[in-house]
């Protein structure tokens, strides 16, 4: 019995509940609707909510917990002998001896990684994909695969039964309570208000989820690599040894080269975006005739709407070769993944962002200030430079900070146009790497989840999150404070 079917049943019972509740309300009113406390539809909604909501909560909890619980039961059902047969075939000798020692002591024998591997094997077998499983272990883990299938089946059927019972129970109970004095509307509205509150806290839960997941994995990373080494180390080379005797796998996690690379590219981007964005905002709001504004605004909106992956492609296809050829023409050797190319394209991406924020801020400066200055005989540019911009300064600073935060967190342009090698340099003609590039390149591809290399991603993500968070909070504060002054 699949989950889709269960949810379908739930929706069906809710719909039936609505109809039954409504009909019953009309019936108990004896044809005189006015004697009811609420409109009949509210009685229907009341029954439908009670038939649907509790069961829906049950389904969600069940889905969240089902996987881990079933996995645990399946592994628990394996005998030590079966695990041993599996381990002898699948594990490298070192791990195997440790495992056999554990089995002898009857402790929790499998490490997390081995558990995952075993579960993948069992899952493949259970899904009928025996070709992905080593033939020598099929015999040993076949019972577990059968066990898994039967457990899944059982879980789905139990869920179906539980949902049916809960839903029907809620329906019957509320249905029987319907009488003209039942305050159905108030009940329904109370439930809906609570749902609204729940929805508005989801954003908070998202933030909490981000912080917790980053923090949790980062702490695991910092048990392997000291915080100080990560924050102040000058060497980044996240290759860790898979085998102990492997060559060239020192694993250095000093993130300074990534931070400087990120800042270098963000600086170049801001050098492009800040003047262009600000000047176009000034021109559009202070000088441009209506016609020009009507033409340029959509252009900026299109630039703002172009996906970053497109900018990345633009960078590698057009801008980087152009810059390399220009460099070659004046005798400079420029890397084809130079920070300059990535920075310029990122700047172009940020221009509309800066421009629209600055536009808002400039428009918020009261017209009376401008009129006063113009009336005293200042030219327009003098008015802008000496009156409008100083008045708008906090807002413009805020806009720039938001733009910097955008540049630091941008991923696709740098993934495609910047390099992978962590060079500690401030030369924009060389190739540098950034925090986001490293996150992407480490995570894409198959990884052991426990290695320091994979976990380092979360530490990088945490730094990224905190830095952008601080920038955003400060920027939003500034912008808000400033707005209140003139409103």
């Amino acid at each position: 019995m699949s989950a889709t079917f269960t949810v379908g049943l739930l929706l069906l019972l809710s719909a039936v509940g609505f109809w039954m509740g409504r009909t019953r309300a009309v019936t108990v009113a004896g044809g005189r609707i006015a004697t009811l406390h609420s409109v009949p539809n509210y009685y229907g909604s009341f029954v439908a909510l009670w038939a649907g909501l509790p069961a829906l909560v049950l389904v969600l909890c069940w889905m969240a917990l089902r996987g881990p619980v079933i996995d645990w039961l399946v592994l628990d059902g394996l005998t030590p002998e079966q695990v041993e047969i599996w381990a002898r075939v699948m594990l490298p000798p070192n791990d195997l001896s440790a495992l056999l020692a554990n089995i002898a002591e009857e402790t929790d024998a499998l490490t997390e990684t081995h558990r995952q591997l075993l579960l993948i094997n069992i899952n493949n077998l259970a899904a009928g994909q025996a070709q992905y499983v080593n033939a020598a272990v099929v015999g040993a883990i076949q019972p577990a695969a059968d066990h898994l299938n039967s457990l899944r089946n059982l879980a789905n059927w139990t869920l179906f039964a539980a949902v049916a019972a809960l839903s029907a129970g809620g329906l019957a109970f509320t249905w029987s309570r319907i009488n003209p004095s039942l305050r159905a509307r108030n009940n329904v509205e109370r439930i809906v208000t609570w749902l609204l509150i729940l929805c508005s806290t989801i954003a908070v839960f998202t933030t909490v989820g981000i912080v917790l997941s980053l923090l949790f994995e980062s702490i695991r990373f910092f048990t392997k690599v000291p915080v100080t080494e990560f924050l102040f180390g000058l060497h980044w080379s996240p290759q860790t040894a898979i085998r102990a005797d492997q060559v060239g796998s020192s694993g250095a996690f000093g993130a300074i080269p990534l931070f400087t690379g990120t800042l270098l590219i963000a600086t170049i981007a801001m050098i492009v975006a800040a003047p262009v964005g600000l000047m176009s905002a000034i021109y559009l709001s202070e000088y441009a005739p209506k016609k020009v504004r009507g033409l340029v605004k959509p252009v900026l909106e299109i630039l703002a709407g172009v996906p970053t992956v497109v900018y990345g492609f633009f960078a590698i296809l057009t801008v980087a070769p152009f810059i390399r050829d220009m460099g070659a023409a004046v005798g400079l050797s420029i890397s084809s993944q130079s920070a300059l190319a990535a920075g310029i394209v990122m700047g172009v991406m940020i221009v509309p962002f800066v421009s629209s924020l600055a536009d808002d801020v400039i428009n918020a400066v009261p017209q009376s200030l401008r009129d006063g200055s113009l009336g005293l005989g200042a030219t327009r540019s003098e008015t802008i430079k000496q009156v409008v911009l100083p008045a708008a300064l906090p807002g413009i600073v805020g806009a720039m900070l938001l733009a910097v935060s955008r540049a630091i967190g941008e991923t696709m342009i740098v993934v495609m146009a910047a390099g992978l090698q962590a060079n500690l340099t401030l030369n924009p003609l060389e190739s540098v790497t950034t925090v986001t590039v490293q996150i992407k390149s480490i995570l894409v591809g198959d990884q052991e989840f426990d290695s320091a290399k994979t976990l380092s991603v979360f530490a990088l993500g945490l730094v990224l999150f905190l830095v952008t968070l601080v920038l955003n909070v400060v920027a939003l504060r500034i912008v808000q404070k400033y707005r209140e002054k003139y409103d």
Binding site: A64, L195, V204, S213, I282, G305, V351, I384, R406, T468
Partner: protein, 441 residues
Amino acid sequence: MTEIAEPMQAAAPMSTSRHTGEAAMKRLRQRYAAERRFKIYGILAITFACAMLAILMFTLLKGGVSAFWQTEMRLEILIDPATIDPQGTGTPAGWDRGAFQTLVNDALYRDFPEVSGRLEKRDLRGLVSPVAGVFLGKVLDKNPALVGQTVELWLPTSDGINQIVKGGIDRDLPEAQRPINDQQLAWFSQLEQRGDVRTTFNSTFFTSSDSNYPELAGLLGAAVGTLLTMLVTVAISLPIGVAAAVYLEEFAPKNKLTDLIEVNINNLAAVPSIVFGLLGLAVFLNFFGMPRSAPLVGGLVLGLLVLPTIIIASRAALKAVPPSIREAALGMGASRLQAITHHVLPLAMPGIMTGTIIGMAHAVGETAPLLMIGMNAFVTQPPTGLLDSSSVLPVQIFIWADKPERGFVELTSAAILVLLAFLITMNGAAIWLRKKFERRW
């Protein structure tokens, strides 16, 4: 500016007054020069932005439009039952799919009987697509009765030939810089003279999914993946976003908690998208054990990503509805929820819809968080459900942009054109909605 400037220049030049003297005129000229310079800076900034968009569009169009055409060559193929059906089952199920390419190659050898020797034959095979057999297979699947006959078919050429015909690679380049050597070019010229070459609309691009061969690669899988992902995103973010906006705008008391929620939503809107990818990886994949690369997970992550945008837009739309509407409804005895659902929300709907479409357009182009949850899988079939492995358009673009073959450069540009067309349609719809239903109170 000019209307002020003219009378000034007409003033007597020889006056010694503070305001009209020589020094004053010089100052004035400098000030006007500064004014003109400042204006020119503004125009330059705008020109730069417009030029960048123009260059971007020009590059994409120049590189991408040709991908909508595909060069084909005519071959007379003898569909030998002994080759494709070695077991003699007589049913399509028993066909050896690998043998279709052999049939195509045999047809080519018959066309050029003078070619012999292993290396020469290999060069000759380089004319036709290495996956032409797949196209032959499709024809035979539709019409199994053709087995045993000789059929005349138009099959795609190899990527190198395709590029040369369409001008992506110059024929006159030195041999070493071409993927096609002189001998192959000579054979191909023979074909061209016989009229056995044509260029047709590349329908494969819209009907097939990812492939390692540019001739066989298409957008269908990624487009279906995008569609499924967006369905989940809308289903998550629209109801939750609107509900949150209604609560915060209409019900919430002004206190510390709602302040916190508000600050939090504003900050969430500015969190880098890749961090949402990490959230998806840590929570949905590792904690809840959802499948990698699935549109369901992608949709959930993007749903959380656009949630702040939708909440902010919906709040603005709700705020724009004048209080008199609410007061009138409340005065008639409606409850607050009734006033909102019956009156305020319908009036705010166009604004909410516009915000949602803009948020969705943002989500459609989002790549980084989807890479984190493994949506860069190599998927050769369109997904059929929310839990299937799938790709999406921007990720497909990213994957193709990484491939070295010339044909994929062209396909990448074409895929970007399709994506941009899609985005512009969405944004256009948003603008149309705003224009049509916007109401000034």
